[in-house]
Structure formats: C-alpha cells, structure tokens
Symmetry: C2
Subunit: 205 residues, 2 copies
C-alpha cells in the first residue's frame, strides 16, 4: 500500500476535498498542517512553490485538482466511462470558473473595489448555478450524483466548496436550486463524510 | 469509430490544442467554426453556455481542458502511469495559473489599468517559467517531454499557448529557459504538427 501525506495550512481551504476523498475511501494518510512559520522552508521544496501538496511514496503532486483527480482514480471515485470522467472534469472546471473569482473577491482589501467585484459576481451567479442544476438533472433526473451511479470527486469538490460559499454568500444561496441543495445534503450524509465533518479539526475557513 | 466535431470560433484561441491532438492522432473530425452571428443560437444548446464544445457521437463536452484530456485519453496522448497523468494535470493547471490572468489583461480596455496588471504579471512570470523549466528538467533532464517518454497533451497545451504568448509578450520571452524553448521547437517539428501549422486556416489569434 502506498503511503500518503497531505501538506497544507491548518484550514479547509483548497484541500478539503482531498480529505473527504480519503474519508470516503477509508484510506489512512498523514494530514500534515503547517505549523506557524513552517511554510517558507517547505515552499522551495515543492514542485510549483505552492500548497497543497500530496506526497505519494515520496513523490509530490501539486495543484489541488490534480491531487483530487489522482486520489479519486486510486479510490474508484471517478466516473466509470471516459465520457463520464470528461463530464466530471467539465463540471469541476466550470464550477471553478466562478469559485476562482470569489477567492479573489474575498482577499480584496479595498471596500469600494470589493463591492464592485461582488456585484458583478452576484449578477452572474444565477447563470452558473442554473447551468449546474441543469447538468445535475441530466443524470438520473438530478436525484443521484453529477455523473454515473455513485458519488465521485466531482460531487465532493462541489459540496465541499458550498460549505465555504454558504458561509461567505449566505446559507440559503442554493434555495432556488433544489437539486443542488439536495445533493449537498446527500453527500454530507454519507456516513464517512458525516463522521469526518463531526470529528475534523475545527477551523474558521 | 466515433465521430468527432469541434465547435468554436474561427480563431486558435482556447481550442487550438484540441486541433493539434487530432492532427497528432491522424483522427478525422469536423472543425466547425462559427459563422458570423451563429454563436447566439448555439449557446443555449451547450452544457455551460460556453465554447469550445466537443461533440462525440452526439454527446457534448465543454471546458477546454476536459476536452483535451478526453481526446488525449482516446488517442494515447496522456502519460502511461497515474502518477505521470497527475504530473501532467498539475503542469497544465499550473501553466493556466498565469495564462488565465494574461487573457484578462488582453481584454482590459482601460490603459492605466492594463499597464498595472501587466507590470504585476511580468513580475511573476519568471517564477512560473522557472518552475516550468525545473519541472521539465525533472523528466529526462528536460530533453524529452513533460512526462513519460513521448509527447502528451501537457506538452501540446504548453507549446500551443506559447505561440500566442510569443506574439503578445515578445518572441524571445523564453530565451532564459532553453529547455522550454527547445521543447517548443521539438513539438512544432513533429511531422503531424508541422503539417497542421502549415495548412491550418490563417487567423490572427
């Protein structure tokens, strides 16, 4: 069995979906969270000077989506067919199209600028969420998962991020998208995920 | 054999790597380029309201990277091992980290704002290119391809985009990165690619 180590800050942040994938697979790993001041010495040893990093038997993978996809493959948590896998990739990248800018907005320090960016974001949000609801409904009428018959990393990335979005936007931001909201409930209720949410380190973000 | 159709505007733009993958595989496909005014009627029929779209036997895949990865899998142009595939994904997403903002800068209409964004971009560019050169050298001392022993979609995405970067930044922007520059020459010299470059529709971008 390979040994796995995740290296990241002591937050959910970008890496939380990887922790959910480990939980779903029941796969032991070292969830290494940088101590105060540790990152600068680790940074030059990483492939791209970025965290998170997944270390598999000493080999490093950077970039969160590359990490998730790799883990999902090892754990049987990608779609069964190449077409399902492509649809899964598509949905993750489409979701990232609006999640990326949201990260920029959260970091923006200038209040008027932040307000302007946020207004722009809120105007396009219904388009993104409407399309995601539509894509979900194209598989099992939206009562299952984004692709195939069982949970995949695509559902995990979506649901895991809505945790943060609910906090930052508002807890009811999915109210007009009942299939997406039900997917969130369904994935969070998977026993391994429910257990991880209950027992994971408490962090603000 | 499946039938393939690419749908995109009459530019290289986001989709050109897919065309290079078809060329490398010698795979016939319909390279559908929207006529003036055609896109608005196509847009609502696409998965995410976005182009490019790949249509495979009537099923649609959106999001350029999902399209490239899918085609690369069909054509044997992904890495052999899961680890190589993850490294390939990582390099593409890392490369996208600086290519994405560059697209925003190109579209920025306000000159002072454009100048400010460009200065910021140019300050971080050597970090990205330095890391990409380092990543390339980690495989076959940088004299082969990004992962494994033969060309993959990761090389194609990189090289294809440097065409645009050379034009927008300057033709010599890789001068300090001899392994990256040699990779560009190597991939562009592959007979199928050289032939495509020579015969493809002439477009400005």
């Amino acid at each position: 069995m390979p040994t796995y180590q995740l290296k990241y800050f002591n937050i959910k942040g970008l890496v939380e979906p990887a922790r959910w994938l480990f939980a779903l697979a029941g796969q032991p790993y070292k969830d290494h969270r940088f101590q105060e001041g540790e990152w600068p010495s680790v940074k030059p040893t990483t492939p791209c000077g970025q965290a998170p990093i997944l270390v598999v038997d000493g080999k490093q993978i950077a970039q969160s989506k590359a990490v998730f996809r790799y883990l999902a493959k090892q754990f049987g948590l990608v779609g069964e067919t190449d077409m399902d896998q492509a649809r899964g990739d598509m949905i993750v990248d489409y979701f990232e199209d609006f999640t990326g800018p949201l990260r920029v907005i959260r970091k923006e320090g200038d209040p008027p600028k932040k307000k302007e960016l946020m207004a722009k974001f809120m105007a396009t949000l219904p388009i993104y969420l409407g399309n995601l609801e539509k894509l979900l409904k194209e598989n099992n009428d939206g009562d299952g998962f984004f692709v195939g018959e069982k949970v995949t990393w695509t559902d995990v990335v979506f649901v895991c991020n809505t945790e943060i979005h609910k906090r930052f936007l508002n807890p009811g931001y999915l109210a007009d998208y009942p299939k997406l909201e039900a997917l969130v409930q369904r994935v969070e209720a998977l026993p391994a995920i429910a257990e991880w949410i209950k027992t994971r380190p408490v962090t603000e973000v």
